[in-house]
């Protein structure tokens, strides 16, 4: 088939070459008859050159032979005869044939180079289009589509992309088993699992596939399988290099997209955090300033002569003060809750006398405890503990608050500070509503409030949760013990002091 085509082409070329020689002959005749030009044999080089350039070697040689014959006919004696034997003619023939060979060769290589250049240009523009598509891609899906199309275009065969087993939701999924040939399935699984970064596999009938990760660095971006057909080894290497180039660009873009997405997520999160922080900060400031005026004014009123002499008015002023204090406490809880949930509890630990913490907590809540019968049971000479005293005081105060809140006025509350093994235990016992087993289990969970008291007692369910966080930040724990509903409860903070040898020492007193 190919041979006949070539012969046909050569014959057509040769015919055209002869036509050109004929045209040259007409011109030669005119030159001789009317202008009397006698040395013009070189004019027959013209069809040889043209044929060599445009039609190839065979037509050029045909033109050379015909040209030499005709030039002998016109320009060499005996004129008007096809005698081919004069030395000048032999020289011309050789010259024409060399020109034919050189010209056709030059033209041929020129054509080849042009062809290569054109091909390169197409590749470059394809690659350029591909990278433009990559840089415009806003999702991984876009990138995968671009890879698939570009590679398919490049190798002119099938390209399949596989995901990374759900690690990245945007990558295409793995194929159903059995859809591809067994060796190809095995190769994909190998690359997927990271046993090899790239491999080639014969899928049967000499059909070679290249299987590799999209990114050489990570399996996160999935696996690609490219059908190369039956290609010779040298072409295979070339294709492989081009695939490498394409994929390294694509992987970089995927990486970039991934990082950008993570950055975006992080920025969104931190902006939300900042907003919340600013909001709570400003709200608490806005609430606390008027609270300070309310509470301060109430204390001034209660001391004024007019109010002081009327018990009912004094009590009212006291109510204003107490409620303002309670509100202030709630705001403090809100602020503390955000600190806890942002994990911003950084204990400033120092050695402290345990009873100092208990006394400070009771002192701050003396008005709220006024209705109860508070008794204290503290060991003298408790070991010093190494904690953030302010945090522990807040935690213990919360427990004291709860005892006052959930036990009837007039009932006893016992506050104790004891040593127990390697712990110092600060506890509050009340004879109030107690805890059911269920309530004990949920106590200290964020927003947990016992259903039995939700209607009768106000609260946010944050207090004990915050207390727990403050205590555990200091290496301690909170325990709750109750014999059941309405049987009172004991809530205690356990803080390790280590061993007596760990206690700090002080030099002799002068």
């Amino acid at each position: 088939m190919v041979g006949i085509d070539a012969v046909r082409r050569e014959l057509r070329g040769s015919a055209i070459a002869l036509v050109m020689v004929a045209a040259t002959t007409v011109v030669s005749y005119v030159l001789i008859q009317y202008l009397d030009v006698r040395r013009g044999s070189v004019i027959y080089l013209l069809p040889v050159l043209l044929a060599g350039w445009h039609l190839g070697l065979v037509p050029a040689l045909v033109a050379a032979v015909a040209g030499v014959l005709w030039s002998g006919y016109f320009f060499f004696s005996p004129f008007y005869s096809f005698y081919l034997g004069r030395p000048q003619e032999i020289l011309n023939l050789l010259l024409f044939m060399v020109v034919a060979v050189v010209t056709s060769h030059l033209a041929n290589s020129m054509k080849q180079q042009t062809e290569i250049a054109r091909k390169r240009e197409k590749e470059t523009s394809d690659l350029y289009a591909f990278s433009r598509r990559l840089s415009a891609a806003s999702s991984a899906r876009d990138i995968y589509l671009a890879i698939e199309e570009h590679l398919a275009n490049l190798v002119q065969r099938k390209v399949i992309l596989f995901g990374a087993g759900g690690a990245k939701p945007f990558a295409p999924a793995l194929p159903d088993p059995g859809q591809l040939s067994a060796p190809l399935d095995a190769a994909i699984a190998d690359v997927q699992a990271g046993r090899s970064p790239a491999t080639t596999v014969d899928a049967g009938q000499g059909d070679v596939w290249l299987v590799r990760r999209v990114s050489q660095k990570t399996a996160d971006f999935g696996v690609i399988a490219i059908d190369l057909g039956s290609v010779p080894a040298e072409t295979f290497d070339e294709v492989r290099h081009r695939v490498d180039d394409v994929l390294s660009d694509a992987a970089a873009t995927l990486q970039h997209l991934d990082v950008a997405r993570a950055l975006n997520d992080a920025r969104m999160r931190s902006e939300t955090e900042l907003l919340r922080e600013a909001l709570i900060g400003s709200v608490s400031h806005e609430l606390r300033t008027p609270l300070a005026s309310i509470l301060g004014a109430a204390t001034v009123l209660s001391k004024s002569a007019a109010v002081a002499k009327d018990e009912r008015l004094t009590a009212l002023a006291g109510v204003v003060r107490d409620e303002a204090e309670r509100l202030n406490n709630d705001i403090q809880n809100l602020l503390d809750a955000t600190r806890v949930s942002r994990e911003q509890i950084r204990p400033h630990q120092e050695w402290i006398e345990p009873q100092d913490i208990v006394n400070a907590a009771l002192q701050r809540r003396r008005r709220r405890l006024a209705g109860h019968n508070v008794s204290l049971d503290m060991d003298a000479n408790l070991p010093l503990i190494y904690v953030d005293a302010v945090l522990i005081e807040q935690a213990f105060g919360q427990i004291v608050d709860n005892a006052a809140k959930y036990s009837p006025p007039g009932t006893p509350i016992t506050v104790a500070a004891k040593r127990n093994g390697h712990d110092v235990v600060l506890s509050v016992h009340d004879e109030g509503v107690g805890l059911t087993t269920e309530e004990s289990a949920q106590l200290g969970e964020r927003f947990f409030r016992g259903a039995r008291h939700a209607a009768t007692t106000s609260g946010s369910g944050l207090g004990l949760w915050i207390a727990k966080a403050f205590v555990s930040a200091n290496g301690g724990k909170i325990q709750a013990v109750s014999s059941g509903a309405d049987k009172g409860s004991t809530i205690s903070i356990h803080l390790p002091f280590g061993t007596p040898e760990n206690q700090p020492e002080v030099g002799p007193d002068d």
Partner: protein
């Protein structure tokens, strides 16, 4: 100061706070001068030197601590800081830069007055050279270095006495850990808070009825210690 009413300069940008402070302080016998800004405060303090300054930390034109620092370059007027910050390090910093005491918002008038009177008494004691400090049942004769409880002599070691002496000089006001450690043990022990814990425990055993529930030598968590003046004594001293 004994005849005319003492003058108090109240520095706060919140009008409602100034209003109740004015009422409370006037009821207590003070003449009140208001200032809304830091620069106002500094001007008033120069024009009409007050006997007491009550300073809010959040001011529109400058931070309250800056007012304090500038004021302290030329005046030792008793000064109480109003703080909304429950930040102990900040309180310590303010005390170190010359505040006599602080109250945390929201606060009751009685608490503020107790701190203010204590600071003013200290001023009088320093200027008159009065050698005896009485804190409830406790009497500390700074000249004779004698400590008694209800007339009975209490024997103290030199460091215990030094500690009590420093607290007595600031009776009613808080004294920071750092100040006590520096004065009693020297700069190298500035962070050895446990020295204080141990000596305060010893001291309480000698001067308190129940050392586990102290009534005289109180702990200000995260800040320092305070020798507390019983409320009756405040009223007596003020009148």
């Amino acid at each position: 100061m004994t005849e005319a009413n003492p003058v108090v300069l109240v520095v706060d940008d919140e009008v409602q706070i100034r209003r109740f402070l004015r009422a409370g302080l006037e009821l207590d016998g003070f003449t009140v001068q208001d200032a809304e800004t830091g620069s106002d405060a500094l001007r008033w303090a120069t024009l009409k030197p007050p006997d007491l300054v009550i300073l809010d930390l959040g001011l529109p034109d400058m931070d309250g601590s800056e007012v304090l620092e500038r004021l302290r370059t030329w005046s030792s007027v008793p000064l109480i800081v109003l703080s909304v910050r429950s930040n102990e390090a900040e309180k310590v910093r303010l005390l170190e830069s010359g505040a006599d005491d602080y109250v945390v918002k929201p606060f009751g008038m009685a608490e503020l007055l107790a701190r203010a009177h204590a600071a003013m008494r200290r001023q009088v004691r320093v200027s008159s050279g009065e050698p005896v400090v009485k804190v409830g049942p406790l009497t500390i004769d700074l000249a004779a270095r004698i400590v008694t409880i209800n007339g009975a002599r209490v024997m103290l070691t030199p460091k215990e006495y030094r500690l009590l002496q420093l607290l007595a000089q600031h009776a009613g006001n808080v004294v920071t850990h750092q100040f006590l450690l520096k004065e009693v043990w020297g700069s190298p022990h500035l962070h050895d808070t446990h020295y204080l814990r141990i000596f305060v425990r010893k001291l309480r055993q000698k001067i308190e009825d129940d050392p586990t529930q102290p009534r005289i030598l109180l702990t200000e968590l995260g800040v320092g210690y305070r020798l507390v003046v019983p409320e009756g004594a405040v009223q007596a001293a003020a009148s």
